[in-house]
């Protein structure tokens, strides 16, 4: 029996190790990122439950007299589904706790954003976070919490409840920020978010008390994405390991409910037996026991503990291949690892229970668009036996599997149903409302994929009208998030700049706007700041096609506009000059009455341009 001790890190250390990755490098950027994280969480929550979002954002200086950087109170309130009270502490108090790990498009991905913002606030101001949540239209729970990163869990300072009638959630933190520098970016962020989320209504109250309101432009929600299984090209060793673990068994929590369940399955409701008697009884009834119960029984046997003992620990890992069980002892606050006795009759039982499916079943059950035929061909390609149990695969085999999944070319293209593009109509309406242009056109490309990740490109073009003639401007979005930083190296800008605009009758500093939206289960961000998108050839091609299509539409508009302008100009000229010519010729010829020149004015405006 070997013992391992995890080293502990302080909350601020954890934060500082990860702050650049998460976008908290300085007070300016941190304020902006915090706004983003909370607003995006609110929008995600509403999207998921198909609620038309109503978002209120406010930033207030704690002491307005002070100069930047200083402490601000940041509050984001939504009308989404809220979070059930028992999950609130975890959602906001633990890192990597999230509900969006499934494969579908969402703004959030890592289960990190909210917690990082809260942590940043806590470290810079030593103030707790306040979360108010109502998930049942009856009660609103208010939590005031500090985070304890050592334990990766929150410390609830205060929990109160009140009556409520609407669901929704509000988060409020105090943090150090620099609004004088971050303000313009935050205002851009809010306004551009309203463009790409035209079904949302948003208000932003800034530290000066100014209110920005973006009303809802469209009343329908775009269709929500569905959660799908991963595409073989889109997984790495780590993902496969996780998939294997969560397919085959879950280490069941040992609570009263579970104990009841075990007693019931063993037919022990009335009697209370010793552990030894219990194990014997289980042996006899093994075939009738459910998988969690089998697991618990086997663990009791290996750890040699009773129910009480089981409740004092948390099983972290059962590694059948290496014959090792790792658990956390709450009493000692330490992690332990013990070896499994492979001679024990429970070893085989446990192994079979948790070794799980054959590779063939694993492939067809756990990946999208993989049938038995493809799976068998793949096994041959990977030189792995189809009937091999995946739970017993060695590390090398797992690496070989992951590698082969990437290289095998006969998988079908990724399923795009997990994507949620905005749709042409809402995008077009958003653009019309936002820019009030003289001309606009939008286009949604069919789904495509890079390295097993499906993506869809949506693009809009707008010209003239309310757009200032200051040259081409590009608005970039990814998964409905505006991208405001680091635009220089972005693939969208590259494509737009490579375009020969003169071929499309666009000259000088045109009043021209391009709106680009890339939707994907994984946006190929170039940098960890999630602000610019890398140039994958597949992505480049889709962007280029969309842009060319729209540019052609613009060119048609421009020449139509040119012809209309010309006709108008002609009409004006003839209306001005013909009556004069008539007047002069009447006097010159000595006539009394003017000639009938009306028809000539009309004809003049209709002449096709010569030359």
């Amino acid at each position: 029996m070997s013992k391992e001790t995890f080293s502990q890190i302080s909350p601020s250390e954890f934060f500082y190790r990860n702050r650049d990755l998460a976008g908290f490098s300085n007070p300016t950027r941190s304020l902006y990122t915090s706004v983003r994280e909370f607003v995006e969480n609110a929008l995600d929550a509403c999207d998921q439950k198909k609620v038309l979002p109503d978002i209120h954002l406010s930033i207030k200086a704690v002491d307005p007299e002070q100069s930047d950087p200083k402490h601000y109170v940041l509050t984001v309130k939504d009308n989404g589904p809220g979070i059930e009270p028992k999950h609130v502490p975890h959602a906001f108090g633990t890192v990597l706790y999230g509900s969006k790990f499934g494969l579908k498009q969402a703004r959030g991905m890592f289960g990190l954003g909210a917690t990082m913002a809260i942590l940043y606030g806590q470290i810079t101001t030593n103030k707790p976070v306040t979360v108010k949540s109502c998930a049942d239209e009856k009660v609103i729970d208010e939590f005031v919490m500090l985070l304890d990163i050592q334990k990766n869990k929150p410390v609830i300072l205060k929990h109160t409840t009140k009556d409520a009638s609407k669901t929704g959630l509000s988060v409020s933190i105090v943090l150090e920020g620099d609004y004088s520098k971050a303000g313009s970016k935050i205002r851009d962020y809010v306004s551009q978010t309203s463009l790409i989320t035209p079904y949302a209504s948003m208000t932003f109250e800034d530290p000066t008390g100014e209110k920005f309101h973006y009303p809802r432009i469209v009343k329908e929600m775009p269709p929500p994405p569905t959660i799908i299984k991963p595409h073989p090209h889109g997984v790495d060793v780590e993902t496969i390991r996780r998939m294997i673990v969560d397919t085959h068994y879950q280490i069941p929590a040992v609570d009263n409910k579970m104990i009841e369940k075990i007693k019931k399955e063993l037919g022990l409701q009335k009697k209370s037996l010793t552990t030894k008697d219990m194990l014997e009884r289980a042996q006899k009834r093994w075939a009738d026991l459910s998988r969690p119960v089998r697991t618990i029984i086997a663990l009791m046997s290996f750890l040699n503990v009773d129910f009480d003992g089981l409740q004092k620990i948390r099983i972290d890992d059962i590694d059948v291949a290496n014959k090792k069980i790792t658990y956390w002892d709450f009493g000692e606050s330490q992690s332990h690892a013990i070896e499994i006795d492979s001679e024990s009759s429970y070893y085989k039982q446990l192994a079979n229970t948790i070794q799980g499916d054959t590779l063939l079943t694993f492939l067809t059950k756990r990946f999208q668009r993989v049938g038995p035929t493809t799976a068998e061909k793949f096994c041959e390609f990977a030189k792995l036996k189809p009937e091999r149990r995946i739970g017993s695969m060695t590390n090398e085999e797992l690496v070989r599997l992951a590698d082969a999944l990437q290289k095998f070319d006969d998988f079908l293209a990724p399923d795009p149903s997990c994507l949620a593009p905005l749709g042409e109509e809402p995008l077009s309406k958003g653009i019309m409302k936002f820019f009030n242009p003289e001309f606009a056109s939008v286009m949604q490309r069919n789904a495509s994929a890079y390295s097993g990740f499906p993506f869809v490109v949506e693009m809009g073009i707008a010209y003239g009208g309310g757009i200032p003639a200051t040259g081409l401007k590009v608005y970039r979005f990814a998964n409905r998030i505006p991208l405001l930083y680091d635009e220089g190296s972005d693939v969208v800008l590259k494509i737009v700049n490579e375009m020969d605009w003169s071929r499309y009758k666009v000259k000088g500093d045109p009043p021209l706007v391009i709106v680009s939206h890339i939707c994907s289960t994984r946006i190929p961000y170039k940098t960890v700041g999630k602000e610019n998108v890398a140039d994958r050839p597949e992505l480049e091609r889709e962007l280029k096609n969309a842009l060319q299509y729209l540019a052609r539409k613009l060119a048609v508009h421009m020449s139509r506009q040119g012809a209309a302008d010309m006709e108008k100009k002609r009409a004006n000229l003839y209306a001005k000059y013909v009556p004069l010519i008539s007047q002069f010729s009447t006097e010159l010829s000595g006539k009394k009455k003017e000639p009938n020149y009306k028809q000539l004015i009309k004809m003049g405006s209709e002449i096709e341009e010569q030359i």
Binding site: K569, R570, L573, Y574, K576, Y577, V578, L580, I581, S582, Q583, F584, S585, T586, E587, L588, S589, G590, K591, P595, N596, Y597, Q599, L600, M603, G604, I607, E609, Q610, I611
Partner: protein, 365 residues
């Protein structure tokens, strides 16, 4: 006293112009009425279309012409400007009013015919000259510069308020401005047998003082440099209507020589016009050869003087005879002499010695 003019030329010209303008007016009117786009046909004044006519002894326009159509949007504006000018000239001539180039530029604005600048309106005036083949003076449009005339010449005004009134041009020693009323007057009578055109106002005054008009039975005309069109027209009428020979005295340089040439055979700028030339006019001097012959004090030529000689050497009219020879001598001398240079030998030297000598000499060329 002679009276060589038996028809009333000025009146006839006016009538001819008015009927031409009316004809154009009718044409435009009918086009408009029939739903057709009216147009003007304007003889082309481009360099390619300006040719020297040896018989007429002046520059004329070739056969090329341009259409200015109201159908063409880019010409509509200038078409209208031209129609307006015809209309406006019609009023000027009928009402006997005169105006200047600058006036025209401003008058247009009352009719919402905006000229961008005066050169644009000046151009339209030349267009109408070309269309009607009449000089702008006939339109009663005059340039600012004025020259004068003195001598025994009786004229009869045709301008309103003075119609029929006669006047002798020797009554005022400063001479008479060759303005609109003089230009439109009938030439009635003269005792003169010669017209002397002289380049400079100062010499003109000297000639009057020295009674050149009596001594040489002449009418003296001050061209004030390059002779304005109205002056050239008057010289022509004196020559054609009254049968008087015309001689020219100008500075002894390349510009003086060309002043004489323009009076004689016109300028390329006015190739669209007739009746501005006096083909038989004689250039008395000052010739380049006179500079040595009369030992005149000289001043050196400038760069531009010399360049001007080279330019004129390309002109077909300077390809032979005395015209050619004098240019060559000027070029050789690279010096020039003004008319005033004769004052070195006394103020009356020019009238007493030079003029008679040259007049005598001119009989042979």
């Amino acid at each position: 006293m002679k009276n060589k003019s038996n028809q009333r030329t000025a009146e006839a010209k006016k009538e001819k112009l008015l009927s031409l303008l009316q004809k154009h007016g009718l044409n435009i009117y009918d086009n408009l009425d029939q739903g057709k786009f009216p147009q003007f046909i304007i003889p082309s004044r481009s360099v390619n279309n300006i040719v020297y006519d040896k018989k007429l002894r002046q520059y004329i326009l070739g056969n090329a012409s341009a259409v200015r159509s109201s159908r063409n949007m880019s010409q509509l504006r200038s078409y209208t400007q031209l129609a307006w000018l015809a209309f406006f000239v019609n009023r000027l001539v009928r009402e006997g009013k005169s105006s200047t180039l600058r006036d025209i530029y401003y008058s247009s604005q009352a009719f919402s015919i905006d000229f961008e600048d005066q050169p644009e309106s000046d151009n339209i005036i030349v267009d109408l000259e070309a269309v009607t083949l009449s000089p702008r003076e006939e339109f009663h449009i005059f340039p600012e510069e004025r020259s004068s005339v003195f001598g025994d010449l009786t004229i009869e005004y045709t301008v309103p308020g003075y119609e029929g009134k006669r006047m002798n041009l020797s009554d005022h020693p400063d001479g008479y401005l060759i303005g609109p009323s003089l230009s439109s007057a009938e030439l009635v009578d003269t005792s003169a047998e010669l017209v002397i055109a002289i380049e400079k106002g100062g010499l003109f005054t000297r000639f009057v003082e020295e009674k050149v008009h009596k001594k040489f039975k002449s009418i003296i005309v001050d061209t004030a440099g390059q002779a304005p069109r109205s002056t050239r027209n008057l010289l022509r009428r004196l020559n054609q209507e009254l049968g008087l020979p015309v001689v020219i005295l100008a500075d002894g340089d390349v510009y003086g020589e060309h002043i004489a040439m323009v009076i004689k055979s016109g300028s390329a700028n006015a190739a669209h016009l007739r009746e501005l030339t006096v083909p038989d006019a004689k250039w008395l001097g000052v010739w380049a050869t006179d500079i040595e012959k009369y030992k005149l004090p000289t001043i050196p030529m400038t760069e531009s003087d010399i360049k001007r000689i080279y330019d004129l050497q390309k002109d077909p009219r300077y390809q032979e005879g005395n015209w050619k020879k004098q240019l060559e001598v000027f070029l050789k001398l690279k010096r020039k002499a003004e008319l005033e240079a004769f004052s070195k030998y006394g103020l009356t030297n020019i009238t007493d010695k030079y003029l008679p000598a040259k007049l005598e000499e001119s009989k042979s060329f």
